[in-house]
Amino acid sequence: MADVRLTDIRKRFGALEIIKGVDLSIKTGEFVVFVGPSGCGKSTLLRMIAGLEDITSGELTIGGAVMNDVDPSKRGIAMVFQSYALYPHMTVRENMGFALKFAGMERQEIDRRVNDAARILELGPLMDRKPKALSGGQRQRVAIGRAIVRNPDVFLFDEPLSNLDAELRVHMRVEIAKLHKALKSTVIYVTHDQVEAMTLADKIVVLRAGIVEQVGAPLDLYDDPANTFVAGFIGSPRMNFLKARVVAAEAGYVTVALANQPHVKLSLPLRSSTAKAGDEVSLGVRPEHFFPAGQGDADLVLDVDVAEHLGNTSYVYANVSADERIIVEHEEFRGARNRDRLTVGLSTAKSFLFDSSGMRIR
């Protein structure tokens, strides 16, 4: 049993509140990713769970026991750091077995655990090397091995892949996913990279400025973002927000016209029916949800700024008007050239609508 529960967790440094009341419940075996821009408090929140930062107020329980003031070593957790935090003067084997000695564990038991972890992580040939003789990916595997040998209830990862190059990051991401399948432990993973969040998580927690913006499964956040922040953060390239105005509102439906191309009108079903004619709203459309002209419910005319053709798809950076830029992505936009005019289709089914405060209304 190692479910983690956070109840109204707050962190204050003097007058500055960094974490502003987080409620969260993490089930045993769940892979939870904290994601958000830098400075959103995701690392601080993880360090509070680890016990490296004090909890100003609120309650943290792990496996049902209140852990607010429990020593980090007694919380049943293990942590993997962005900088790996390996002991540079010890070999891989010593790095992994070092802490176990102080838990009063038998020599043979330590060896068994270290060898098991080495086998899982394929560290066998590296066991007698020192960290400086290892590559970044190998170092991170050792750091993960050092966490595994402790057999923790909860693994904490603090941006573990940020120091690796792009190719290795993809590789290690897959390794971590496999490891989680094999070990079935609870994992809390912090990253600023939404691709890592989308690929690894059972559940994503999107944080901004110390507040949880939305919690949900990766595809739920993609399909069903609660506000412009989550909509913009999840998905790459980020969602386009087009300025629009409500021109007609009737029971459950609104018709909006784009501010910069008023001839483009879309009729959308509403979630909540607070919108009325004349309201300023923004229409959210992901780059991959534009279509070739005529295939959508309305057509939008764009001035192409830059077109990038990657073969499997094309990214077109274009202007709706002088002060409104968007990105569209479609494999059939191969023909778009810089400075061209491009007509793209919009679909009501794939469009979101947000009110002036950023909350989603459709």
Binding site: S73, M79, Y87
Partner: protein
């Protein structure tokens, strides 16, 4: 067109370049190389004042039969063996404590502990003489808290005279060594300690198994310079012993002070003094080699 940097011999005979380094080389030759060579030459002569004659290895044979030299050598080694480890350990512990981010006023403590090594030697000697006098503040403080029943004669009993020198040396140089450790500690990734804390490594073990090994190069450096400093010890024993003679009963006489006595206080015997100074050279070289050997990187 000529090349900008001619190769071969021409490069070494370019007058302008030699003119730039010439004055420095001349000064180094006059005040370093010449004394080194001349003292080696002198060490082969015996006799007092100007009445010298060639003695070959005579001075070295004299060393082995000179009880005062043996006393000075023993004292010097005693100071080195006892004082350097105490100071290094103390400096490490202090640096470790001051590196704690939760410590308040760490800037004040850092300055306070570092200050002795930049304070005036004479000023602190005068203060130490008064503080450690028979009726000084140290004795009265120790008596008040009940550690001793009668005052300690810091300047007249051989054991306490040595102890006083060690206290003075430690007081003066601990902060100096600590600064090196603090600088090195600040380069250690904080998450290494956090990882150890989460993994349940107790504080003492973090110090012994993480801090000390990671500071090994700096510890080696400070040990070598402290060793050299202590083997050459002169200032403290000259200023804190009665009349600067290394008393009582030669109990604080060091090799350097003995050289000074041989040269300037007694009828000068330059040859013998030069021989004793080469003993210091050999000692420093041997001990430094030994320390580098002990601290070498094991594969």
């Amino acid at each position: 067109m000529e090349t900008a940097r001619p190769g071969g011999l021409k490069r070494y005979y370019d007058v302008n370049e030699w003119l730039f380094v010439g004055p420095a080389l001349a000064l180094i030759a006059l005040f370093m190389l010449y004394p080194i060579a001349y003292s080696l030459y002198l060490s082969a002569f015996s006799g007092k004042g100007m009445m010298v004659k060639f003695a070959g290895f005579g001075n070295i044979i004299r060393l082995t039969k000179d009880p005062v030299f043996i006393t000075a050598l023993t004292n010097t080694i005693t100071f080195f063996v006892i004082q350097v480890p105490i100071m290094i350990t103390l400096a490490l512990i202090l640096a470790s404590l001051l590196n704690n981010p939760r410590l308040k006023f760490s800037g004040f403590f850092r300055t306070a502990i570092f200050l002795p090594c930049v304070s005036s030697l004479v000023a602190y000697s005068v203060l130490f003489k008064s503080m450690f006098a028979l009726d000084g503040v140290v004795n009265s403080a120790l008596e008040t808290i009940g550690i001793i029943s009668e005052p300690i004669s810091w300047f007249t009993e051989p054991f306490w005279a040595k102890t006083l020198i060690i206290i003075a040396l430690t007081w003066r140089w601990t902060g100096y060594n600590m600064i090196f450790y603090l600088a090195a500690l600040q380069n250690i990734d904080r998450s290494i300690y956090e990882a150890a804390r989460i993994d349940g490594v107790p504080a003492w073990a973090r110090f012994v198994y993480i801090t000390v090994p990671m500071l090994k190069p700096v510890i080696l450096f400070t040990t070598v310079i402290s060793t050299i400093g202590t083997i050459q010890l002169f200032d403290e024993v000259y200023n804190l012993s009665a009349e600067g003679k290394g008393g009582p009963a030669d109990s604080t006489l060091t090799l350097s002070l003995y050289i000074y006595n041989l040269t300037f206080r007694y009828m000068p015997s330059f040859g013998y003094a030069a021989t004793v100074s080469y003993v210091i050279v050999v000692l420093v070289a041997l001990l430094s080699l030994l320390q580098f050997y002990v601290a070498r990187e094991r594969r």
